[in-house]
Symmetry: C2
Subunit: 410 residues, 2 copies
């Protein structure tokens, strides 16, 4: 009992578009207990789409197909599904009317080609699209429950959440999943909580990304006894949090910037940043979060040393004596931006992201960062290896983590 995902579109096979839909869908399906074991992409070619549908539907019990439901002549998915089934396309009058109304609402006139989006393989069940004109559809083929959606990510997600997930067959091994995010090395986290697997009927999985680890607690869900079968997962999940309480640990799946933001908002503290080698990345990560204006004042990217002096007030002699990438300068940047912005908490980062600019004494990858607090000033140093963008990301993560640690003590 396995699941598969098929992505249709020449723009994907040619590499013009990176497919993010299938990763999103896999994640959702695996949280229900479905194992996605195969993914395919084929170009807009009738024969190849038909073959892929027939092969995948003969092997897997769930097949989700995205793409190829648009209005152009390249969009062949509905016709290919009908051909794979040996059936024909039927125009759905209610959907046709819906398409015309959608255009009217947006003050536009539909092209005759748009009518095609109301064509479905005979016997298919239409899945409404809350965010666009092309509905999805569901049908049975081979051994599979097949679901079809447009390739536009927001439309695919809307149809999945509203119509596909509720009508999936029961997973072969239904599961109940809870997550927590912890900021500590993976080995340390695993060491602290691994024994839970012996005490509860659950499994633990870890996903580590730059300084943070997502812990997934999964338990078998017994149908008909949902509430009782959730208990061991809830208990193990709660115990994991207390076992990890000496680290920063939060419920669910969160980024470091989200966690720092929640901490700042709860404590009514205002944050400012002074970035150098990360060039605005930390500020971007913080402002990716809606509502960050509640606790975020802003930042200075002091890429040039003159800006460190003029705007952040870093003393020139300090720069001359220790160099821009040094502990004293990181500290002065944090203090400087805290004062200039009248912030409660300030974070600074200065380093060498490469590929140029490294020396024997200060190699590419050396980063200093500092956290300035109302009554404290903390300094940190890291050496990161890899390409420029990787060093920038690792430095940003490490600095956010230091800020989380510091703010958690306030």
């Amino acid at each position: 009992m396995t699941a598969a995902i098929l992505t249709i579109g020449t723009e994907v096979t040619r590499g013009e578009l990176i497919d993010t839909n299938s990763a999103w869908l896999s994640d959702k399906l695996s949280d229900l207990g479905w194992e996605v074991v195969e993914k395919r992409s084929v170009d807009d070619d009738m024969n190849r789409i038909v073959s892929a549908l027939q092969e995948l539907s003969s092997r897997h019990q769930v097949l989700i197909v995205t793409g190829g439901l648009g209005p152009t002549s390249d969009d062949l998915t509905s016709a290919a599904a009908a051909q794979a089934l040996g059936s024909k396309l039927i125009r759905d009058p209610a959907v046709l009317q819906g398409i015309h109304e959608f255009f009217a609402r947006h003050g536009r006139v539909p092209h005759p080609m748009n009518d095609k989006q109301a064509d479905f393989p005979e016997g298919a069940r239409v899945l409404p699209n809350p965010r666009g004109t092309a509905p999805g559809f569901a049908l049975r083929m081979g051994r599979s429950h097949c679901f079809f959606t447009p390739g536009v990510p927001s439309e695919m997600r809307g149809i999945y959440e509203e119509s596909i997930e509720p009508s999936l067959p029961p997973a072969p091994a239904p599961v109940y999943v809870r997550r927590l995010t912890c900021f500590a090395p993976e080995s340390e986290i695993a060491g602290a909580i691994a024994a839970l697997e012996a005490r509860f009927p659950i499994t633990l999985a870890y996903r580590a990304t730059a300084g943070q680890v997502e812990v997934k607690v999964t338990g078998r869900l017994t149908l008909g006894q949902e509430a009782r079968s959730r208990e061991p997962v809830d208990q193990a999940w709660a115990e994991a949090q207390s076992l990890l309480s000496r680290h920063v640990v939060v419920e669910g799946r969160k980024t470091a910037a989200q966690i720092l933001g929640e901490m700042l908002a709860k404590r009514n503290l205002k944050l400012a940043l002074a970035e150098s080698c990360t060039g605005g990345l930390v500020s971007k990560l913080i402002t990716d979060i809606p509502g960050s204006s509640q606790y975020y004042l802003g930042s200075v990217t002091s890429y040039d040393n003159a800006i460190k002096q003029k705007i952040l007030g870093v003393p020139g002699p300090l720069l001359a004596q220790f160099g821009a990438v040094s502990r004293p300068v990181a500290e002065a940047m944090a203090e400087g931006v805290r004062k200039a912005f009248e912030a409660d908490v300030a974070l600074s980062i200065t380093g060498i992201a490469g590929p140029g600019g490294g020396t024997e004494e200060k190699p590419v990858g050396l980063v200093h960062w500092a956290v300035a607090l109302p009554n404290d000033l903390l300094a940190f140093e890291g050496k990161f290896r890899g390409e420029r963008s990787f060093i920038q990301q690792r430095a940003a993560s490490a600095a956010l983590l230091s800020a989380i640690d510091a703010v958690s003590q306030l």
Copy 2:
């Protein structure tokens, strides 16, 4: 005569990792005249890997396989390739020695499991890995020339460039490709250059992303007459540039931040930024480019209005009268940061990225931006629709484009 790509790994089928390798490879193959028509990912399951190898190698003339060459028990690709061929694994003594030396060079001791990375299907040709321990390999299977690489993107790219591309069979329709990047609406670009397709034996293709369009000029490459068959492409490409000369047009595939950077460097001008709704994104895009310190001084992210006043010197009455998202404030931000940073060129952006903060008069998606020059001040306004991150990206692209336009006049 088609090509396919197979990605092996449970982390990909489960959605824990987004596969970017296959898009990169498709792009490279299509530049040679190979059409990638199918991509697959399977999990770390011996039977599914063997089936996928057999099916794909029976259908396509080129098959590139990534992933599953690591040292752990999950890494099954070499064994699966041997099984698919009905042959066995042979340990390569030279590769084994190379692995041990690689570890020694990095002061580490190899685990016995690492030795597995020296095992290859009988008859395979080893492809050296310049960036890691696991070499790739090449072999013939079914109708295919098959090439295997590790899944780590930098290692895959290294092996492709050094060993795979030079040993690919001649493409069914070898092509010669040249690109240019133009900053204008796609329809306008197509209108200006479409006639070249009638005058030269070439095809034009367009790839539009947020305000910029990549134009690809492709011509048939006649083997044995390479130089002569390249001429029409070179001519059409040069003519396209002159036909588009009233827009900003540059050779090759470039981002707006790269182009702005090259223009600034050439003119010896220094840039500063004042960002609000984009929250550091423009600064990040600029500092993603190695060597940007040559022309980039830095930025202020003035997320809070108080910072617009304190650091950028935007007059309080201006903020009170027009609001933070307005033409006068965008202008004052650009002028303010230009003065504070002693820059030649300054770019400011202020807008409402949403989802909150919109009003009837100033809806989510409204963005004002301004470019301050030594003797000029230009203001712009846009309304972008979509999710928060999309609005931020579109605003950043539009603002960079305005800066390119303005700097190109200097």
